[in-house]
Symmetry: C2
């Protein structure tokens, strides 16, 4: 009998899991269930549709219906998984028309993703607090802009909050970011590097309020202002970008254990504590490559990598997930910012003694037109002299530099090795002395 | 008594040697001698001045006179080193005004660079054959363009030939490239990857003639046409871009041995076979990191790295040069092409059994505007499964991907590790599945 694989969730990790499962097992019955109307789209693209760079939300669909047909994947849209029974090996679902069905499985992949998180703030039951997680959320924000909104308050200065803020400014709105912490992008960057990004955003007229907790949503039925740090801020649109939390209710109801990050606990094959049940994507945790502690970075690249491993294993393969560095990057107006490995702050939190160094350079030869500033900060474990993190902020070519350091970390490169590394150069493309190499020298000087 | 360091040559490697020597020894008497009128400029920038991207040749000066003053470096311009005496430890020079001086040294750094190479072609003594090595060469080409040249023949389809060809086309000239080999960029790329670059250049109306040796320079005193592959090609400007050869006459006259590449033989401290004499830059050889055989890649990045090591050692430091991968990159119109490590052809020449794989992808999320094609080819040593080379051709973000693979090679990353690597992503900046990772999967499939 054909192997039955059920996958709950049909975006980044779910679809990659299905695809990997199909590659391993050509005859398996693979079923994906999702509550959403659309499957296989890129969440990461949502802010750029709102910003007007991409014409329509449906353009974000990376895996169209034809893909599912071609791969012989049974895709159930607008279908809510309501229960998992790990003893009988079934998933109960409620279809679009309200019918209940029970899907038996040989292998189950939980790819339920994450939900926007709303802290217990007074008045949060009021209407008009939007968030950005799926296409329908995006459509709501887009509709508000089209209805003539002139200003927005975004609560949270993480990647989604800032990318959305830029998108709304590109549509002509006045945007105020309210962040509880003393810096923007606290997961991605140390305060010194975040400051560079903040300056750029402020030059573009984004209003950024730090050290301000949202205390209350004001208005009658509908929110018309927030109170934050004692200040009342009015706006036409209110966006909750406090962060996301792994969607784990289905798993916990079924007795599938969570890990210390409150995401679903997995082993190196992305299998949960329950046999034949895998968890991948934003709902699952995996070890950090440096600390070996479980983390849940909730990034698209991590989700697809997890999906591929979990899906292959669900189809009988033996595939290992090597852990995460949580390499991430963003573009905000004309500035790019990225991180790989641990920030200095994260290293300290993990009680790793580090030496750091940073340099400012240019993205092209100094004499070549269009050169923009770039700053590289390296975080190095003192004892081993190994690189364990890098943050880069610059006008161009940041992403692949982050990947350079990601590869270096994954292979245990020491700061001495980076300081002598062989790099490529051409005047229109970078400086003769690669900024990463110069940053390594700055760190090395502190070891002498 | 202060240590006396003499450096012959005052561009990339010479200046970096001086700077490193000064860093190590604050009191050394450091003298740089160069035949040129200008020191400390970027040769790599010359084609871009000709192309009109940079206003003037003097803008290429990266180290202005103030730098030499500040670092207390004695810079002798228009001064020709005529002899080295390694027994007496002196360098004889002829100054601008014809006077002969003898400079004693404790340490000598030979950074004489390379010269344009002209094969023994009939008629090569005729006037009007230009080349592009220094600022004065560039000024001659620029003058020809300003004098109304409408067409150019460039002999050689290496980096300099093509970059200069693009520059001349940007100035409105019709450009014909004549190359003896069956492909362009033979040092940088395998034929399959070179074809992509060639197509782009041809779309831009560059005429490229392959498999054609230059047989004769035609014309009376001055060249008016060349004969290549039996065909007569007329033009207003003729550029010799056959390649460069290490400038070693001074060294060989002094009994300093060359290595198997016909460049000056060095040890891992960039010291020649003669004590206290160092050789760095385009005139010196160094081991390839993969084959451990000496090579002489004559690249700016290699030159500065060699200079730094040789200069430090000349000042009494103990600094090792880790060898070269010869990572290189270029931008030609709207296409970037780069290489690190061995091409498939070079691997075969070195009798290394390899498995290769390539994929075509996009430089941004498929739905994001401005995404351009990118192709990644990986070369993997069959026995060890280690990556030993990569070639990338694409519309953007090629350079740092080359550096990614360069770091991977330097740290012995296997193709399996690359296929599972943690990478950063954002829709405006790259695809969720990084093309390098996808290329690794293509290779891995051949191992199964």
């Amino acid at each position: 009998m054909a192997r039955r694989i059920v996958i709950i969730g049909a975006n980044a990790s779910g679809v990659d899991a299905a695809s990997a499962a199909r590659k391993k097992d050509r005859t398996a019955e693979i079923t994906l269930v999702t509550q959403e109307k659309t499957a296989g789209y890129s969440r990461c693209g949502l802010p750029f549709v709102i910003g007007g760079h991409i014409a329509e939300f449906k353009d974000l669909v990376v895996y169209p219906p034809a893909f599912f047909q071609m791969q012989k994947l049974n895709l159930c849209l607008e279908t809510k998984a309501t229960a998992i029974n790990t003893k009988d090996k079934t998933v109960t679902v409620q279809t679009k028309d309200g019918a209940t069905e029970v899907l038996p499985y040989d292998s189950l992949v939980i790819a339920t993703g994450a939900d926007s998180f709303m802290p217990p703030i007074k008045g949060r039951e009021k209407q008009g607090i939007l968030s950005l997680r799926g296409i329908e959320d995006g459509e709501r924000i887009d509709a508000a802009v089209k209805a003539g909104a002139k200003s927005a308050v975004i609560m949270g200065a993480g990647l989604i909050g800032l990318e959305l803020g830029v998108g709304l400014m590109e549509r002509g709105l006045k945007v105020t970011i309210v962040e509880m912490l003393p810096q923007i992008l606290p997961q991605l960057l140390d305060a010194d590097m975040a400051k560079l990004v903040q300056q750029h955003l402020e030059e573009k007229s984004m209003q950024i309020l730090l050290n301000k907790s949202v205390e209350e949503f004001l208005g009658d039925d509908k929110v018309t202002a927030i109170k934050a740090g004692g200040e009342v801020i009015e706006a036409d649109v209110f966006i909750s970008a406090f962060g996301v939390r792994a969607s784990t209710k289905l798993a916990t109801d079924a007795g599938i254990p969570l890990g210390e990050t409150r995401a679903i606990k997995t082993n190196s094959r992305m299998e949960t504590e329950v046999k034949d049940v895998y968890a991948v994507g934003d709902c699952a945790e995996a070890p950090n490559i440096i600390t070996h502690k479980p983390v849940c970075p909730q990034l698209g690249t991590v989700a697809v990598r997890m999906g591929k491993v979990g899906g292959a294993n669900a189809a009988g393969d033996y595939s290992l997930f090597g852990g995460v560095l949580a390499s991430a990057v963003t573009r905000l107006f004309e500035i790019e910012a990225g991180n790989t490995g641990l920030t200095e702050t994260a290293a300290q939190r993990n009680r790793i003694e580090v030496v750091t160094g940073a340099i400012s350079s240019k993205t092209r030869a100094d004499y070549y037109p269009g050169a923009t500033p770039i700053k590289v900060k390296l975080v190095v474990e003192k004892e081993s002299q190994r690189i364990i993190g890098a943050q880069i902020v610059g006008g161009e070519e940041v992403t692949q530099r982050i990947n350079c350091i990601s590869f270096a970390i994954q292979k245990g490169m020491t700061i001495r090795e980076l300081a002598k590394a062989d790099t490529a150069y051409a005047p229109p493309l970078n400086e003769t002395w690669e900024p990463m190499v110069l940053a390594a020298e700055m760190v090395l000087m502190k070891f002498r």
